[in-house]
Symmetry: C2
């Protein structure tokens, strides 16, 4: 039986709010098991881009990363957000280290190829350096991953934070009993997208199939759930989706949606 | 006999120049022994501050770090510069990791107290986590230090890169045979400040005393040399001052000024 590892992804809406972020990190730091935090930070990057008059283009919710935008996201994600999170965790007696994918060659990626859209310096992940990450975890160091990777040719790449969390979870699942937690603005996967009290507590393969067939699931959740099942297929033990502010109860399963491979 | 460790500090003028930086990193990556790179980056921070209309105040060459300026230096030093250096080193097959002082609690500092000047979020170093840095070095990981520290109370602090290099060198000298290299725009300590061919090849305590007595040394070099002798006093083996572009010959002692404790 492997040791438990929690990989928690937090989105831009909490990163952007000093008070909520600090409360979340306090709760996160109290997890006694091995843990990894993956953060986004798109809103702060968008704001800096506005201040610097660097026009931002989004296609299907993905940022087109031209050279100036890459500079901005590297500064905001790997610099400002990552180091502030690490400093806050240190203040909560949690010995954290902030990493981009270039650090220790943690996450190797390649520039995205797409037949029609040029995403610019957007990275798709090739591999996660689980030996290096595992070594840090075994020294009781908490890892904080910024959504920036590299191609080992000297190029940094902007990479989706959900995907980083998923790939880290898949990569580390042979070494640990991995629980992957995606936090977002809602309380979980909802039966009625407009009603936060309709959280579906547990989804397995057959209930997912049924929910889709009955069109009882919000279309925007389908890629997230497909990714969750892919992670479970690749050895991740459990995926939980819910609110960052409810981290304790997400872990115990008393809030949020738990997705299991059964 | 301890293993050799090279700690190299590069200044803003090389960090700012893509071609020179890349050439320097190629040379640095070919050092076969353990190594740490410490970078500044003041010019790029000043430029971003201008773009964002954040007024910069300098007193005696030190930046007054208000909250907005701290945000800028954290983004530029720990984000943009640090991660680009790490990605370039990775492309030269040098497995590097970029750290601020908050990462792994690498460098602990406190907000500077000064009787008359409020330096803002400027940090003076209390301690270097040599166990953590030593563990990384022993795994053949090259450390790239950004001049940002923390106070373990959640506050990041802007810290002079020369001082970081010096404190890292002093802290690691019980574990390694440390050579500390300060690179700057001149070829070394000059007998005539206006003539780059007048490099003084070697300075020891008695020749330093004589150079000062005879006023043969440029006044601006005195604090640098005082710091160098302090580092030597605290166990550092050798301090070398010279041009980053001449790294190979600085190490072999065929260029630059070597300062020794004899």
């Amino acid at each position: 039986m492997n040791k438990p590892l929690y990989i928690v992804k937090i989105g831009g809406n909490i990163v952007d709010d000093e008070l909520r972020l600090s409360g979340f990190l306090n709760e996160f730091s109290s997890i006694q098991e091995k843990k990894i935090l993956v953060h986004g930070g798109g809103k702060l990057a968008t704001r800096l881009a506005e201040q610097l008059a660097v026009k931002q283009t989004m296609i299907d919710g993905r940022r087109i990363t031209d050279a100036e935008t890459l500079k901005i996201v590297t500064m905001v994600y790997a610099g400002y957000i990552n180091k502030n999170i690490v400093a806050l965790l240190q203040s909560y007696q949690c010995n954290a280290i902030g990493l981009s994918g270039a650090d220790g060659n943690a996450i190797l990626a390649h520039k995205r190829h797409h037949p029609t859209i040029d995403y610019g310096f957007a990275g798709d992940i090739d591999s996660v350096n689980t030996g290096f990450l595992g070594d840090l975890l075994e020294k009781d160091i908490t890892i904080v991953l910024a959504p920036i990777t590299h191609d080992k040719q000297g190029q940094l790449l902007n990479t989706n934070a959900d995907t980083i969390a998923q790939e880290a979870a898949k990569g580390l699942s042979p070494l640990y009993d991995v629980t992957l937690i995606y936090s977002f603005e809602k309380s979980g996967v909802l039966g009625d997208a407009s009603d936060d009290s309709t959280v579906i507590k547990k989804i397995n393969r057959s209930s997912y199939h049924q929910l889709k067939t009955e069109q009882k699931i919000f279309a925007g959740m389908i890629p997230k759930l497909d990714n969750a099942f892919e992670a479970l297929n690749c050895g991740v033990n459990k995926v939980i989706i819910g609110k960052a502010e409810e981290l304790d109860s997400l872990i115990t399963g008393t809030s949020g949606t738990t997705i299991v491979n059964e």
